[in-house]
Symmetry: C2
Subunit: 246 residues, 2 copies
């Protein structure tokens, strides 16, 4: 399959067959992660590959039960610990423990993650990103024994797919892309852009089942309500500060 078709058929896979990922295949996929572009070719990230059953179970719990049947969890972290260690051995400053490098490192870790995702899918594997890595950062860091200077920002659970979900909907291109400069949206724009999403059968069914007035309420009241966002932001910020990255 050509690369563009492969990218266009991405689905999140949440149920996996009881099959391990071959070591050679896993290494090939991880090497693809390493080839991702990154700031100054400094590779300010680490990848924790968790494959033992008991460790997966413990990690899955911290992700609210997601990925329980996965063959592997990949936790991809911003990592200035390794870089600073090298600087120290070379008698240099250790200047990367700050907000700029948290942000650049998050971008670099994510570029590696998406290379891994696409390479894995090209090898017949399925996977799902777990945004919950930002929810339980402290507990995840303890479980994975992350030292100071290491912040988990992306988690992938991965394995051979045991489901074939339908393709999910997306906003039309004009809803996301701006030519030359940002063109702010009129009320009509917002209505038009979101029509496809609001009319998508799966979303209509969600609204009906939850007894909400509309789709926006699913997100703002049930899935990601304000009080949770504020509490998680606070905990995440505290973790980042303790990790020495603010």
């Amino acid at each position: 399959m050509n690369t563009i078709d492969l990218i266009n058929r991405h689905r999140s896979i949440r149920k996996f067959k009881d099959l391990p990922i071959e070591k050679e295949k896993m290494d090939r996929i991880l090497e693809c992660g390493m080839r991702a572009p990154n700031t100054g070719n400094m590779q300010i990230y680490s990848i924790i590959v968790t494959e033992q059953r008991d460790n997966i179970e413990a990690l899955s719990k911290l992700h609210f039960g997601q990925g329980a049947t996965a063959a592997a969890f990949l936790t991809i972290c911003v990592d200035v610990n390794r870089y600073h260690h090298w600087c120290r051995l070379r008698g240099c400053d250790e200047p990367y423990d700050n907000f700029l490098w948290l942000m650049s490192g998050t971008v670099d870790a994510t570029l590696a993650a998406q290379n891994i995702c696409i390479a894995a899918e090209s090898e017949g594997l399925g996977l799902c990103y777990l945004g919950t890595v930002m929810y339980n950062t402290q507990a995840i860091a303890e479980l994975l024994e992350l030292p100071k200077g290491v912040v988990p920002v992306v988690t992938l659970c991965m394995g051979y797919p045991a489901e074939e979900p339908a393709l999910s909907e997306r906003l039309p291109l004009e809803g996301v892309v701006h030519q030359e400069k940002y063109h702010n949206y009129s009320d009509d724009d917002i209505e038009r852009i979101h029509r496809i999403r609001e009319e998508f059968p799966f979303n209509q069914e969600m609204v009906r089942q939850n007894g909400t007035r509309n789709l926006a309420e699913i997100f703002t009241k049930i899935r990601y309500p304000k009080k949770d966002n504020v509490a998680i932001s606070k905990a995440l910020l505290e973790f980042v500060e303790q990790a020495g990255m603010m």
Copy 2:
């Protein structure tokens, strides 16, 4: 070419032919960006495509002259402005202006960026990520007329390649990947892992030309020294606060 080979032959391209990117091709590439996984399928990002010569020149200046010959700049932003507008029209809370969604949004924007990168390369285009998007955030936001709630986090410059640079080196897999849990590095580990990097001819030449003691000094003294990192972190944090994302 198969996808894994394509990923493994990535090079940053910084010089471009004087050729535009065909509209149909650009749309196909952008659609690949839209297919990237993202938190709750909320697509909390916007993509600004800059192709007019005068706009590219202005933008390139804010990136310290990088990408001056590119056919297009793509500035990919965390965007809660559009999502909140929709929530408002549906009579809902606007709960995504906080640190959690800055971080999740940065991951989502970057996943879209890397889909775009790989799709573009599969179509014969070349590109380079410009980490400088974090350096001049305020000025870039003004030039692109970004409203509150929109934070640029990734910039790609793109076009038909006018150079064929050598493949850059990477750390060995064992230097970045940890099995099951994070295994902190001994001094010997750090030495061994970095050998390939320190012996890479291009890097040795850089050390020689700059009259530095070693490669770490290139990064910590010349390219990304502490005082710059601290100043940029401060400005970036101020921008993010003004954008309402802390």
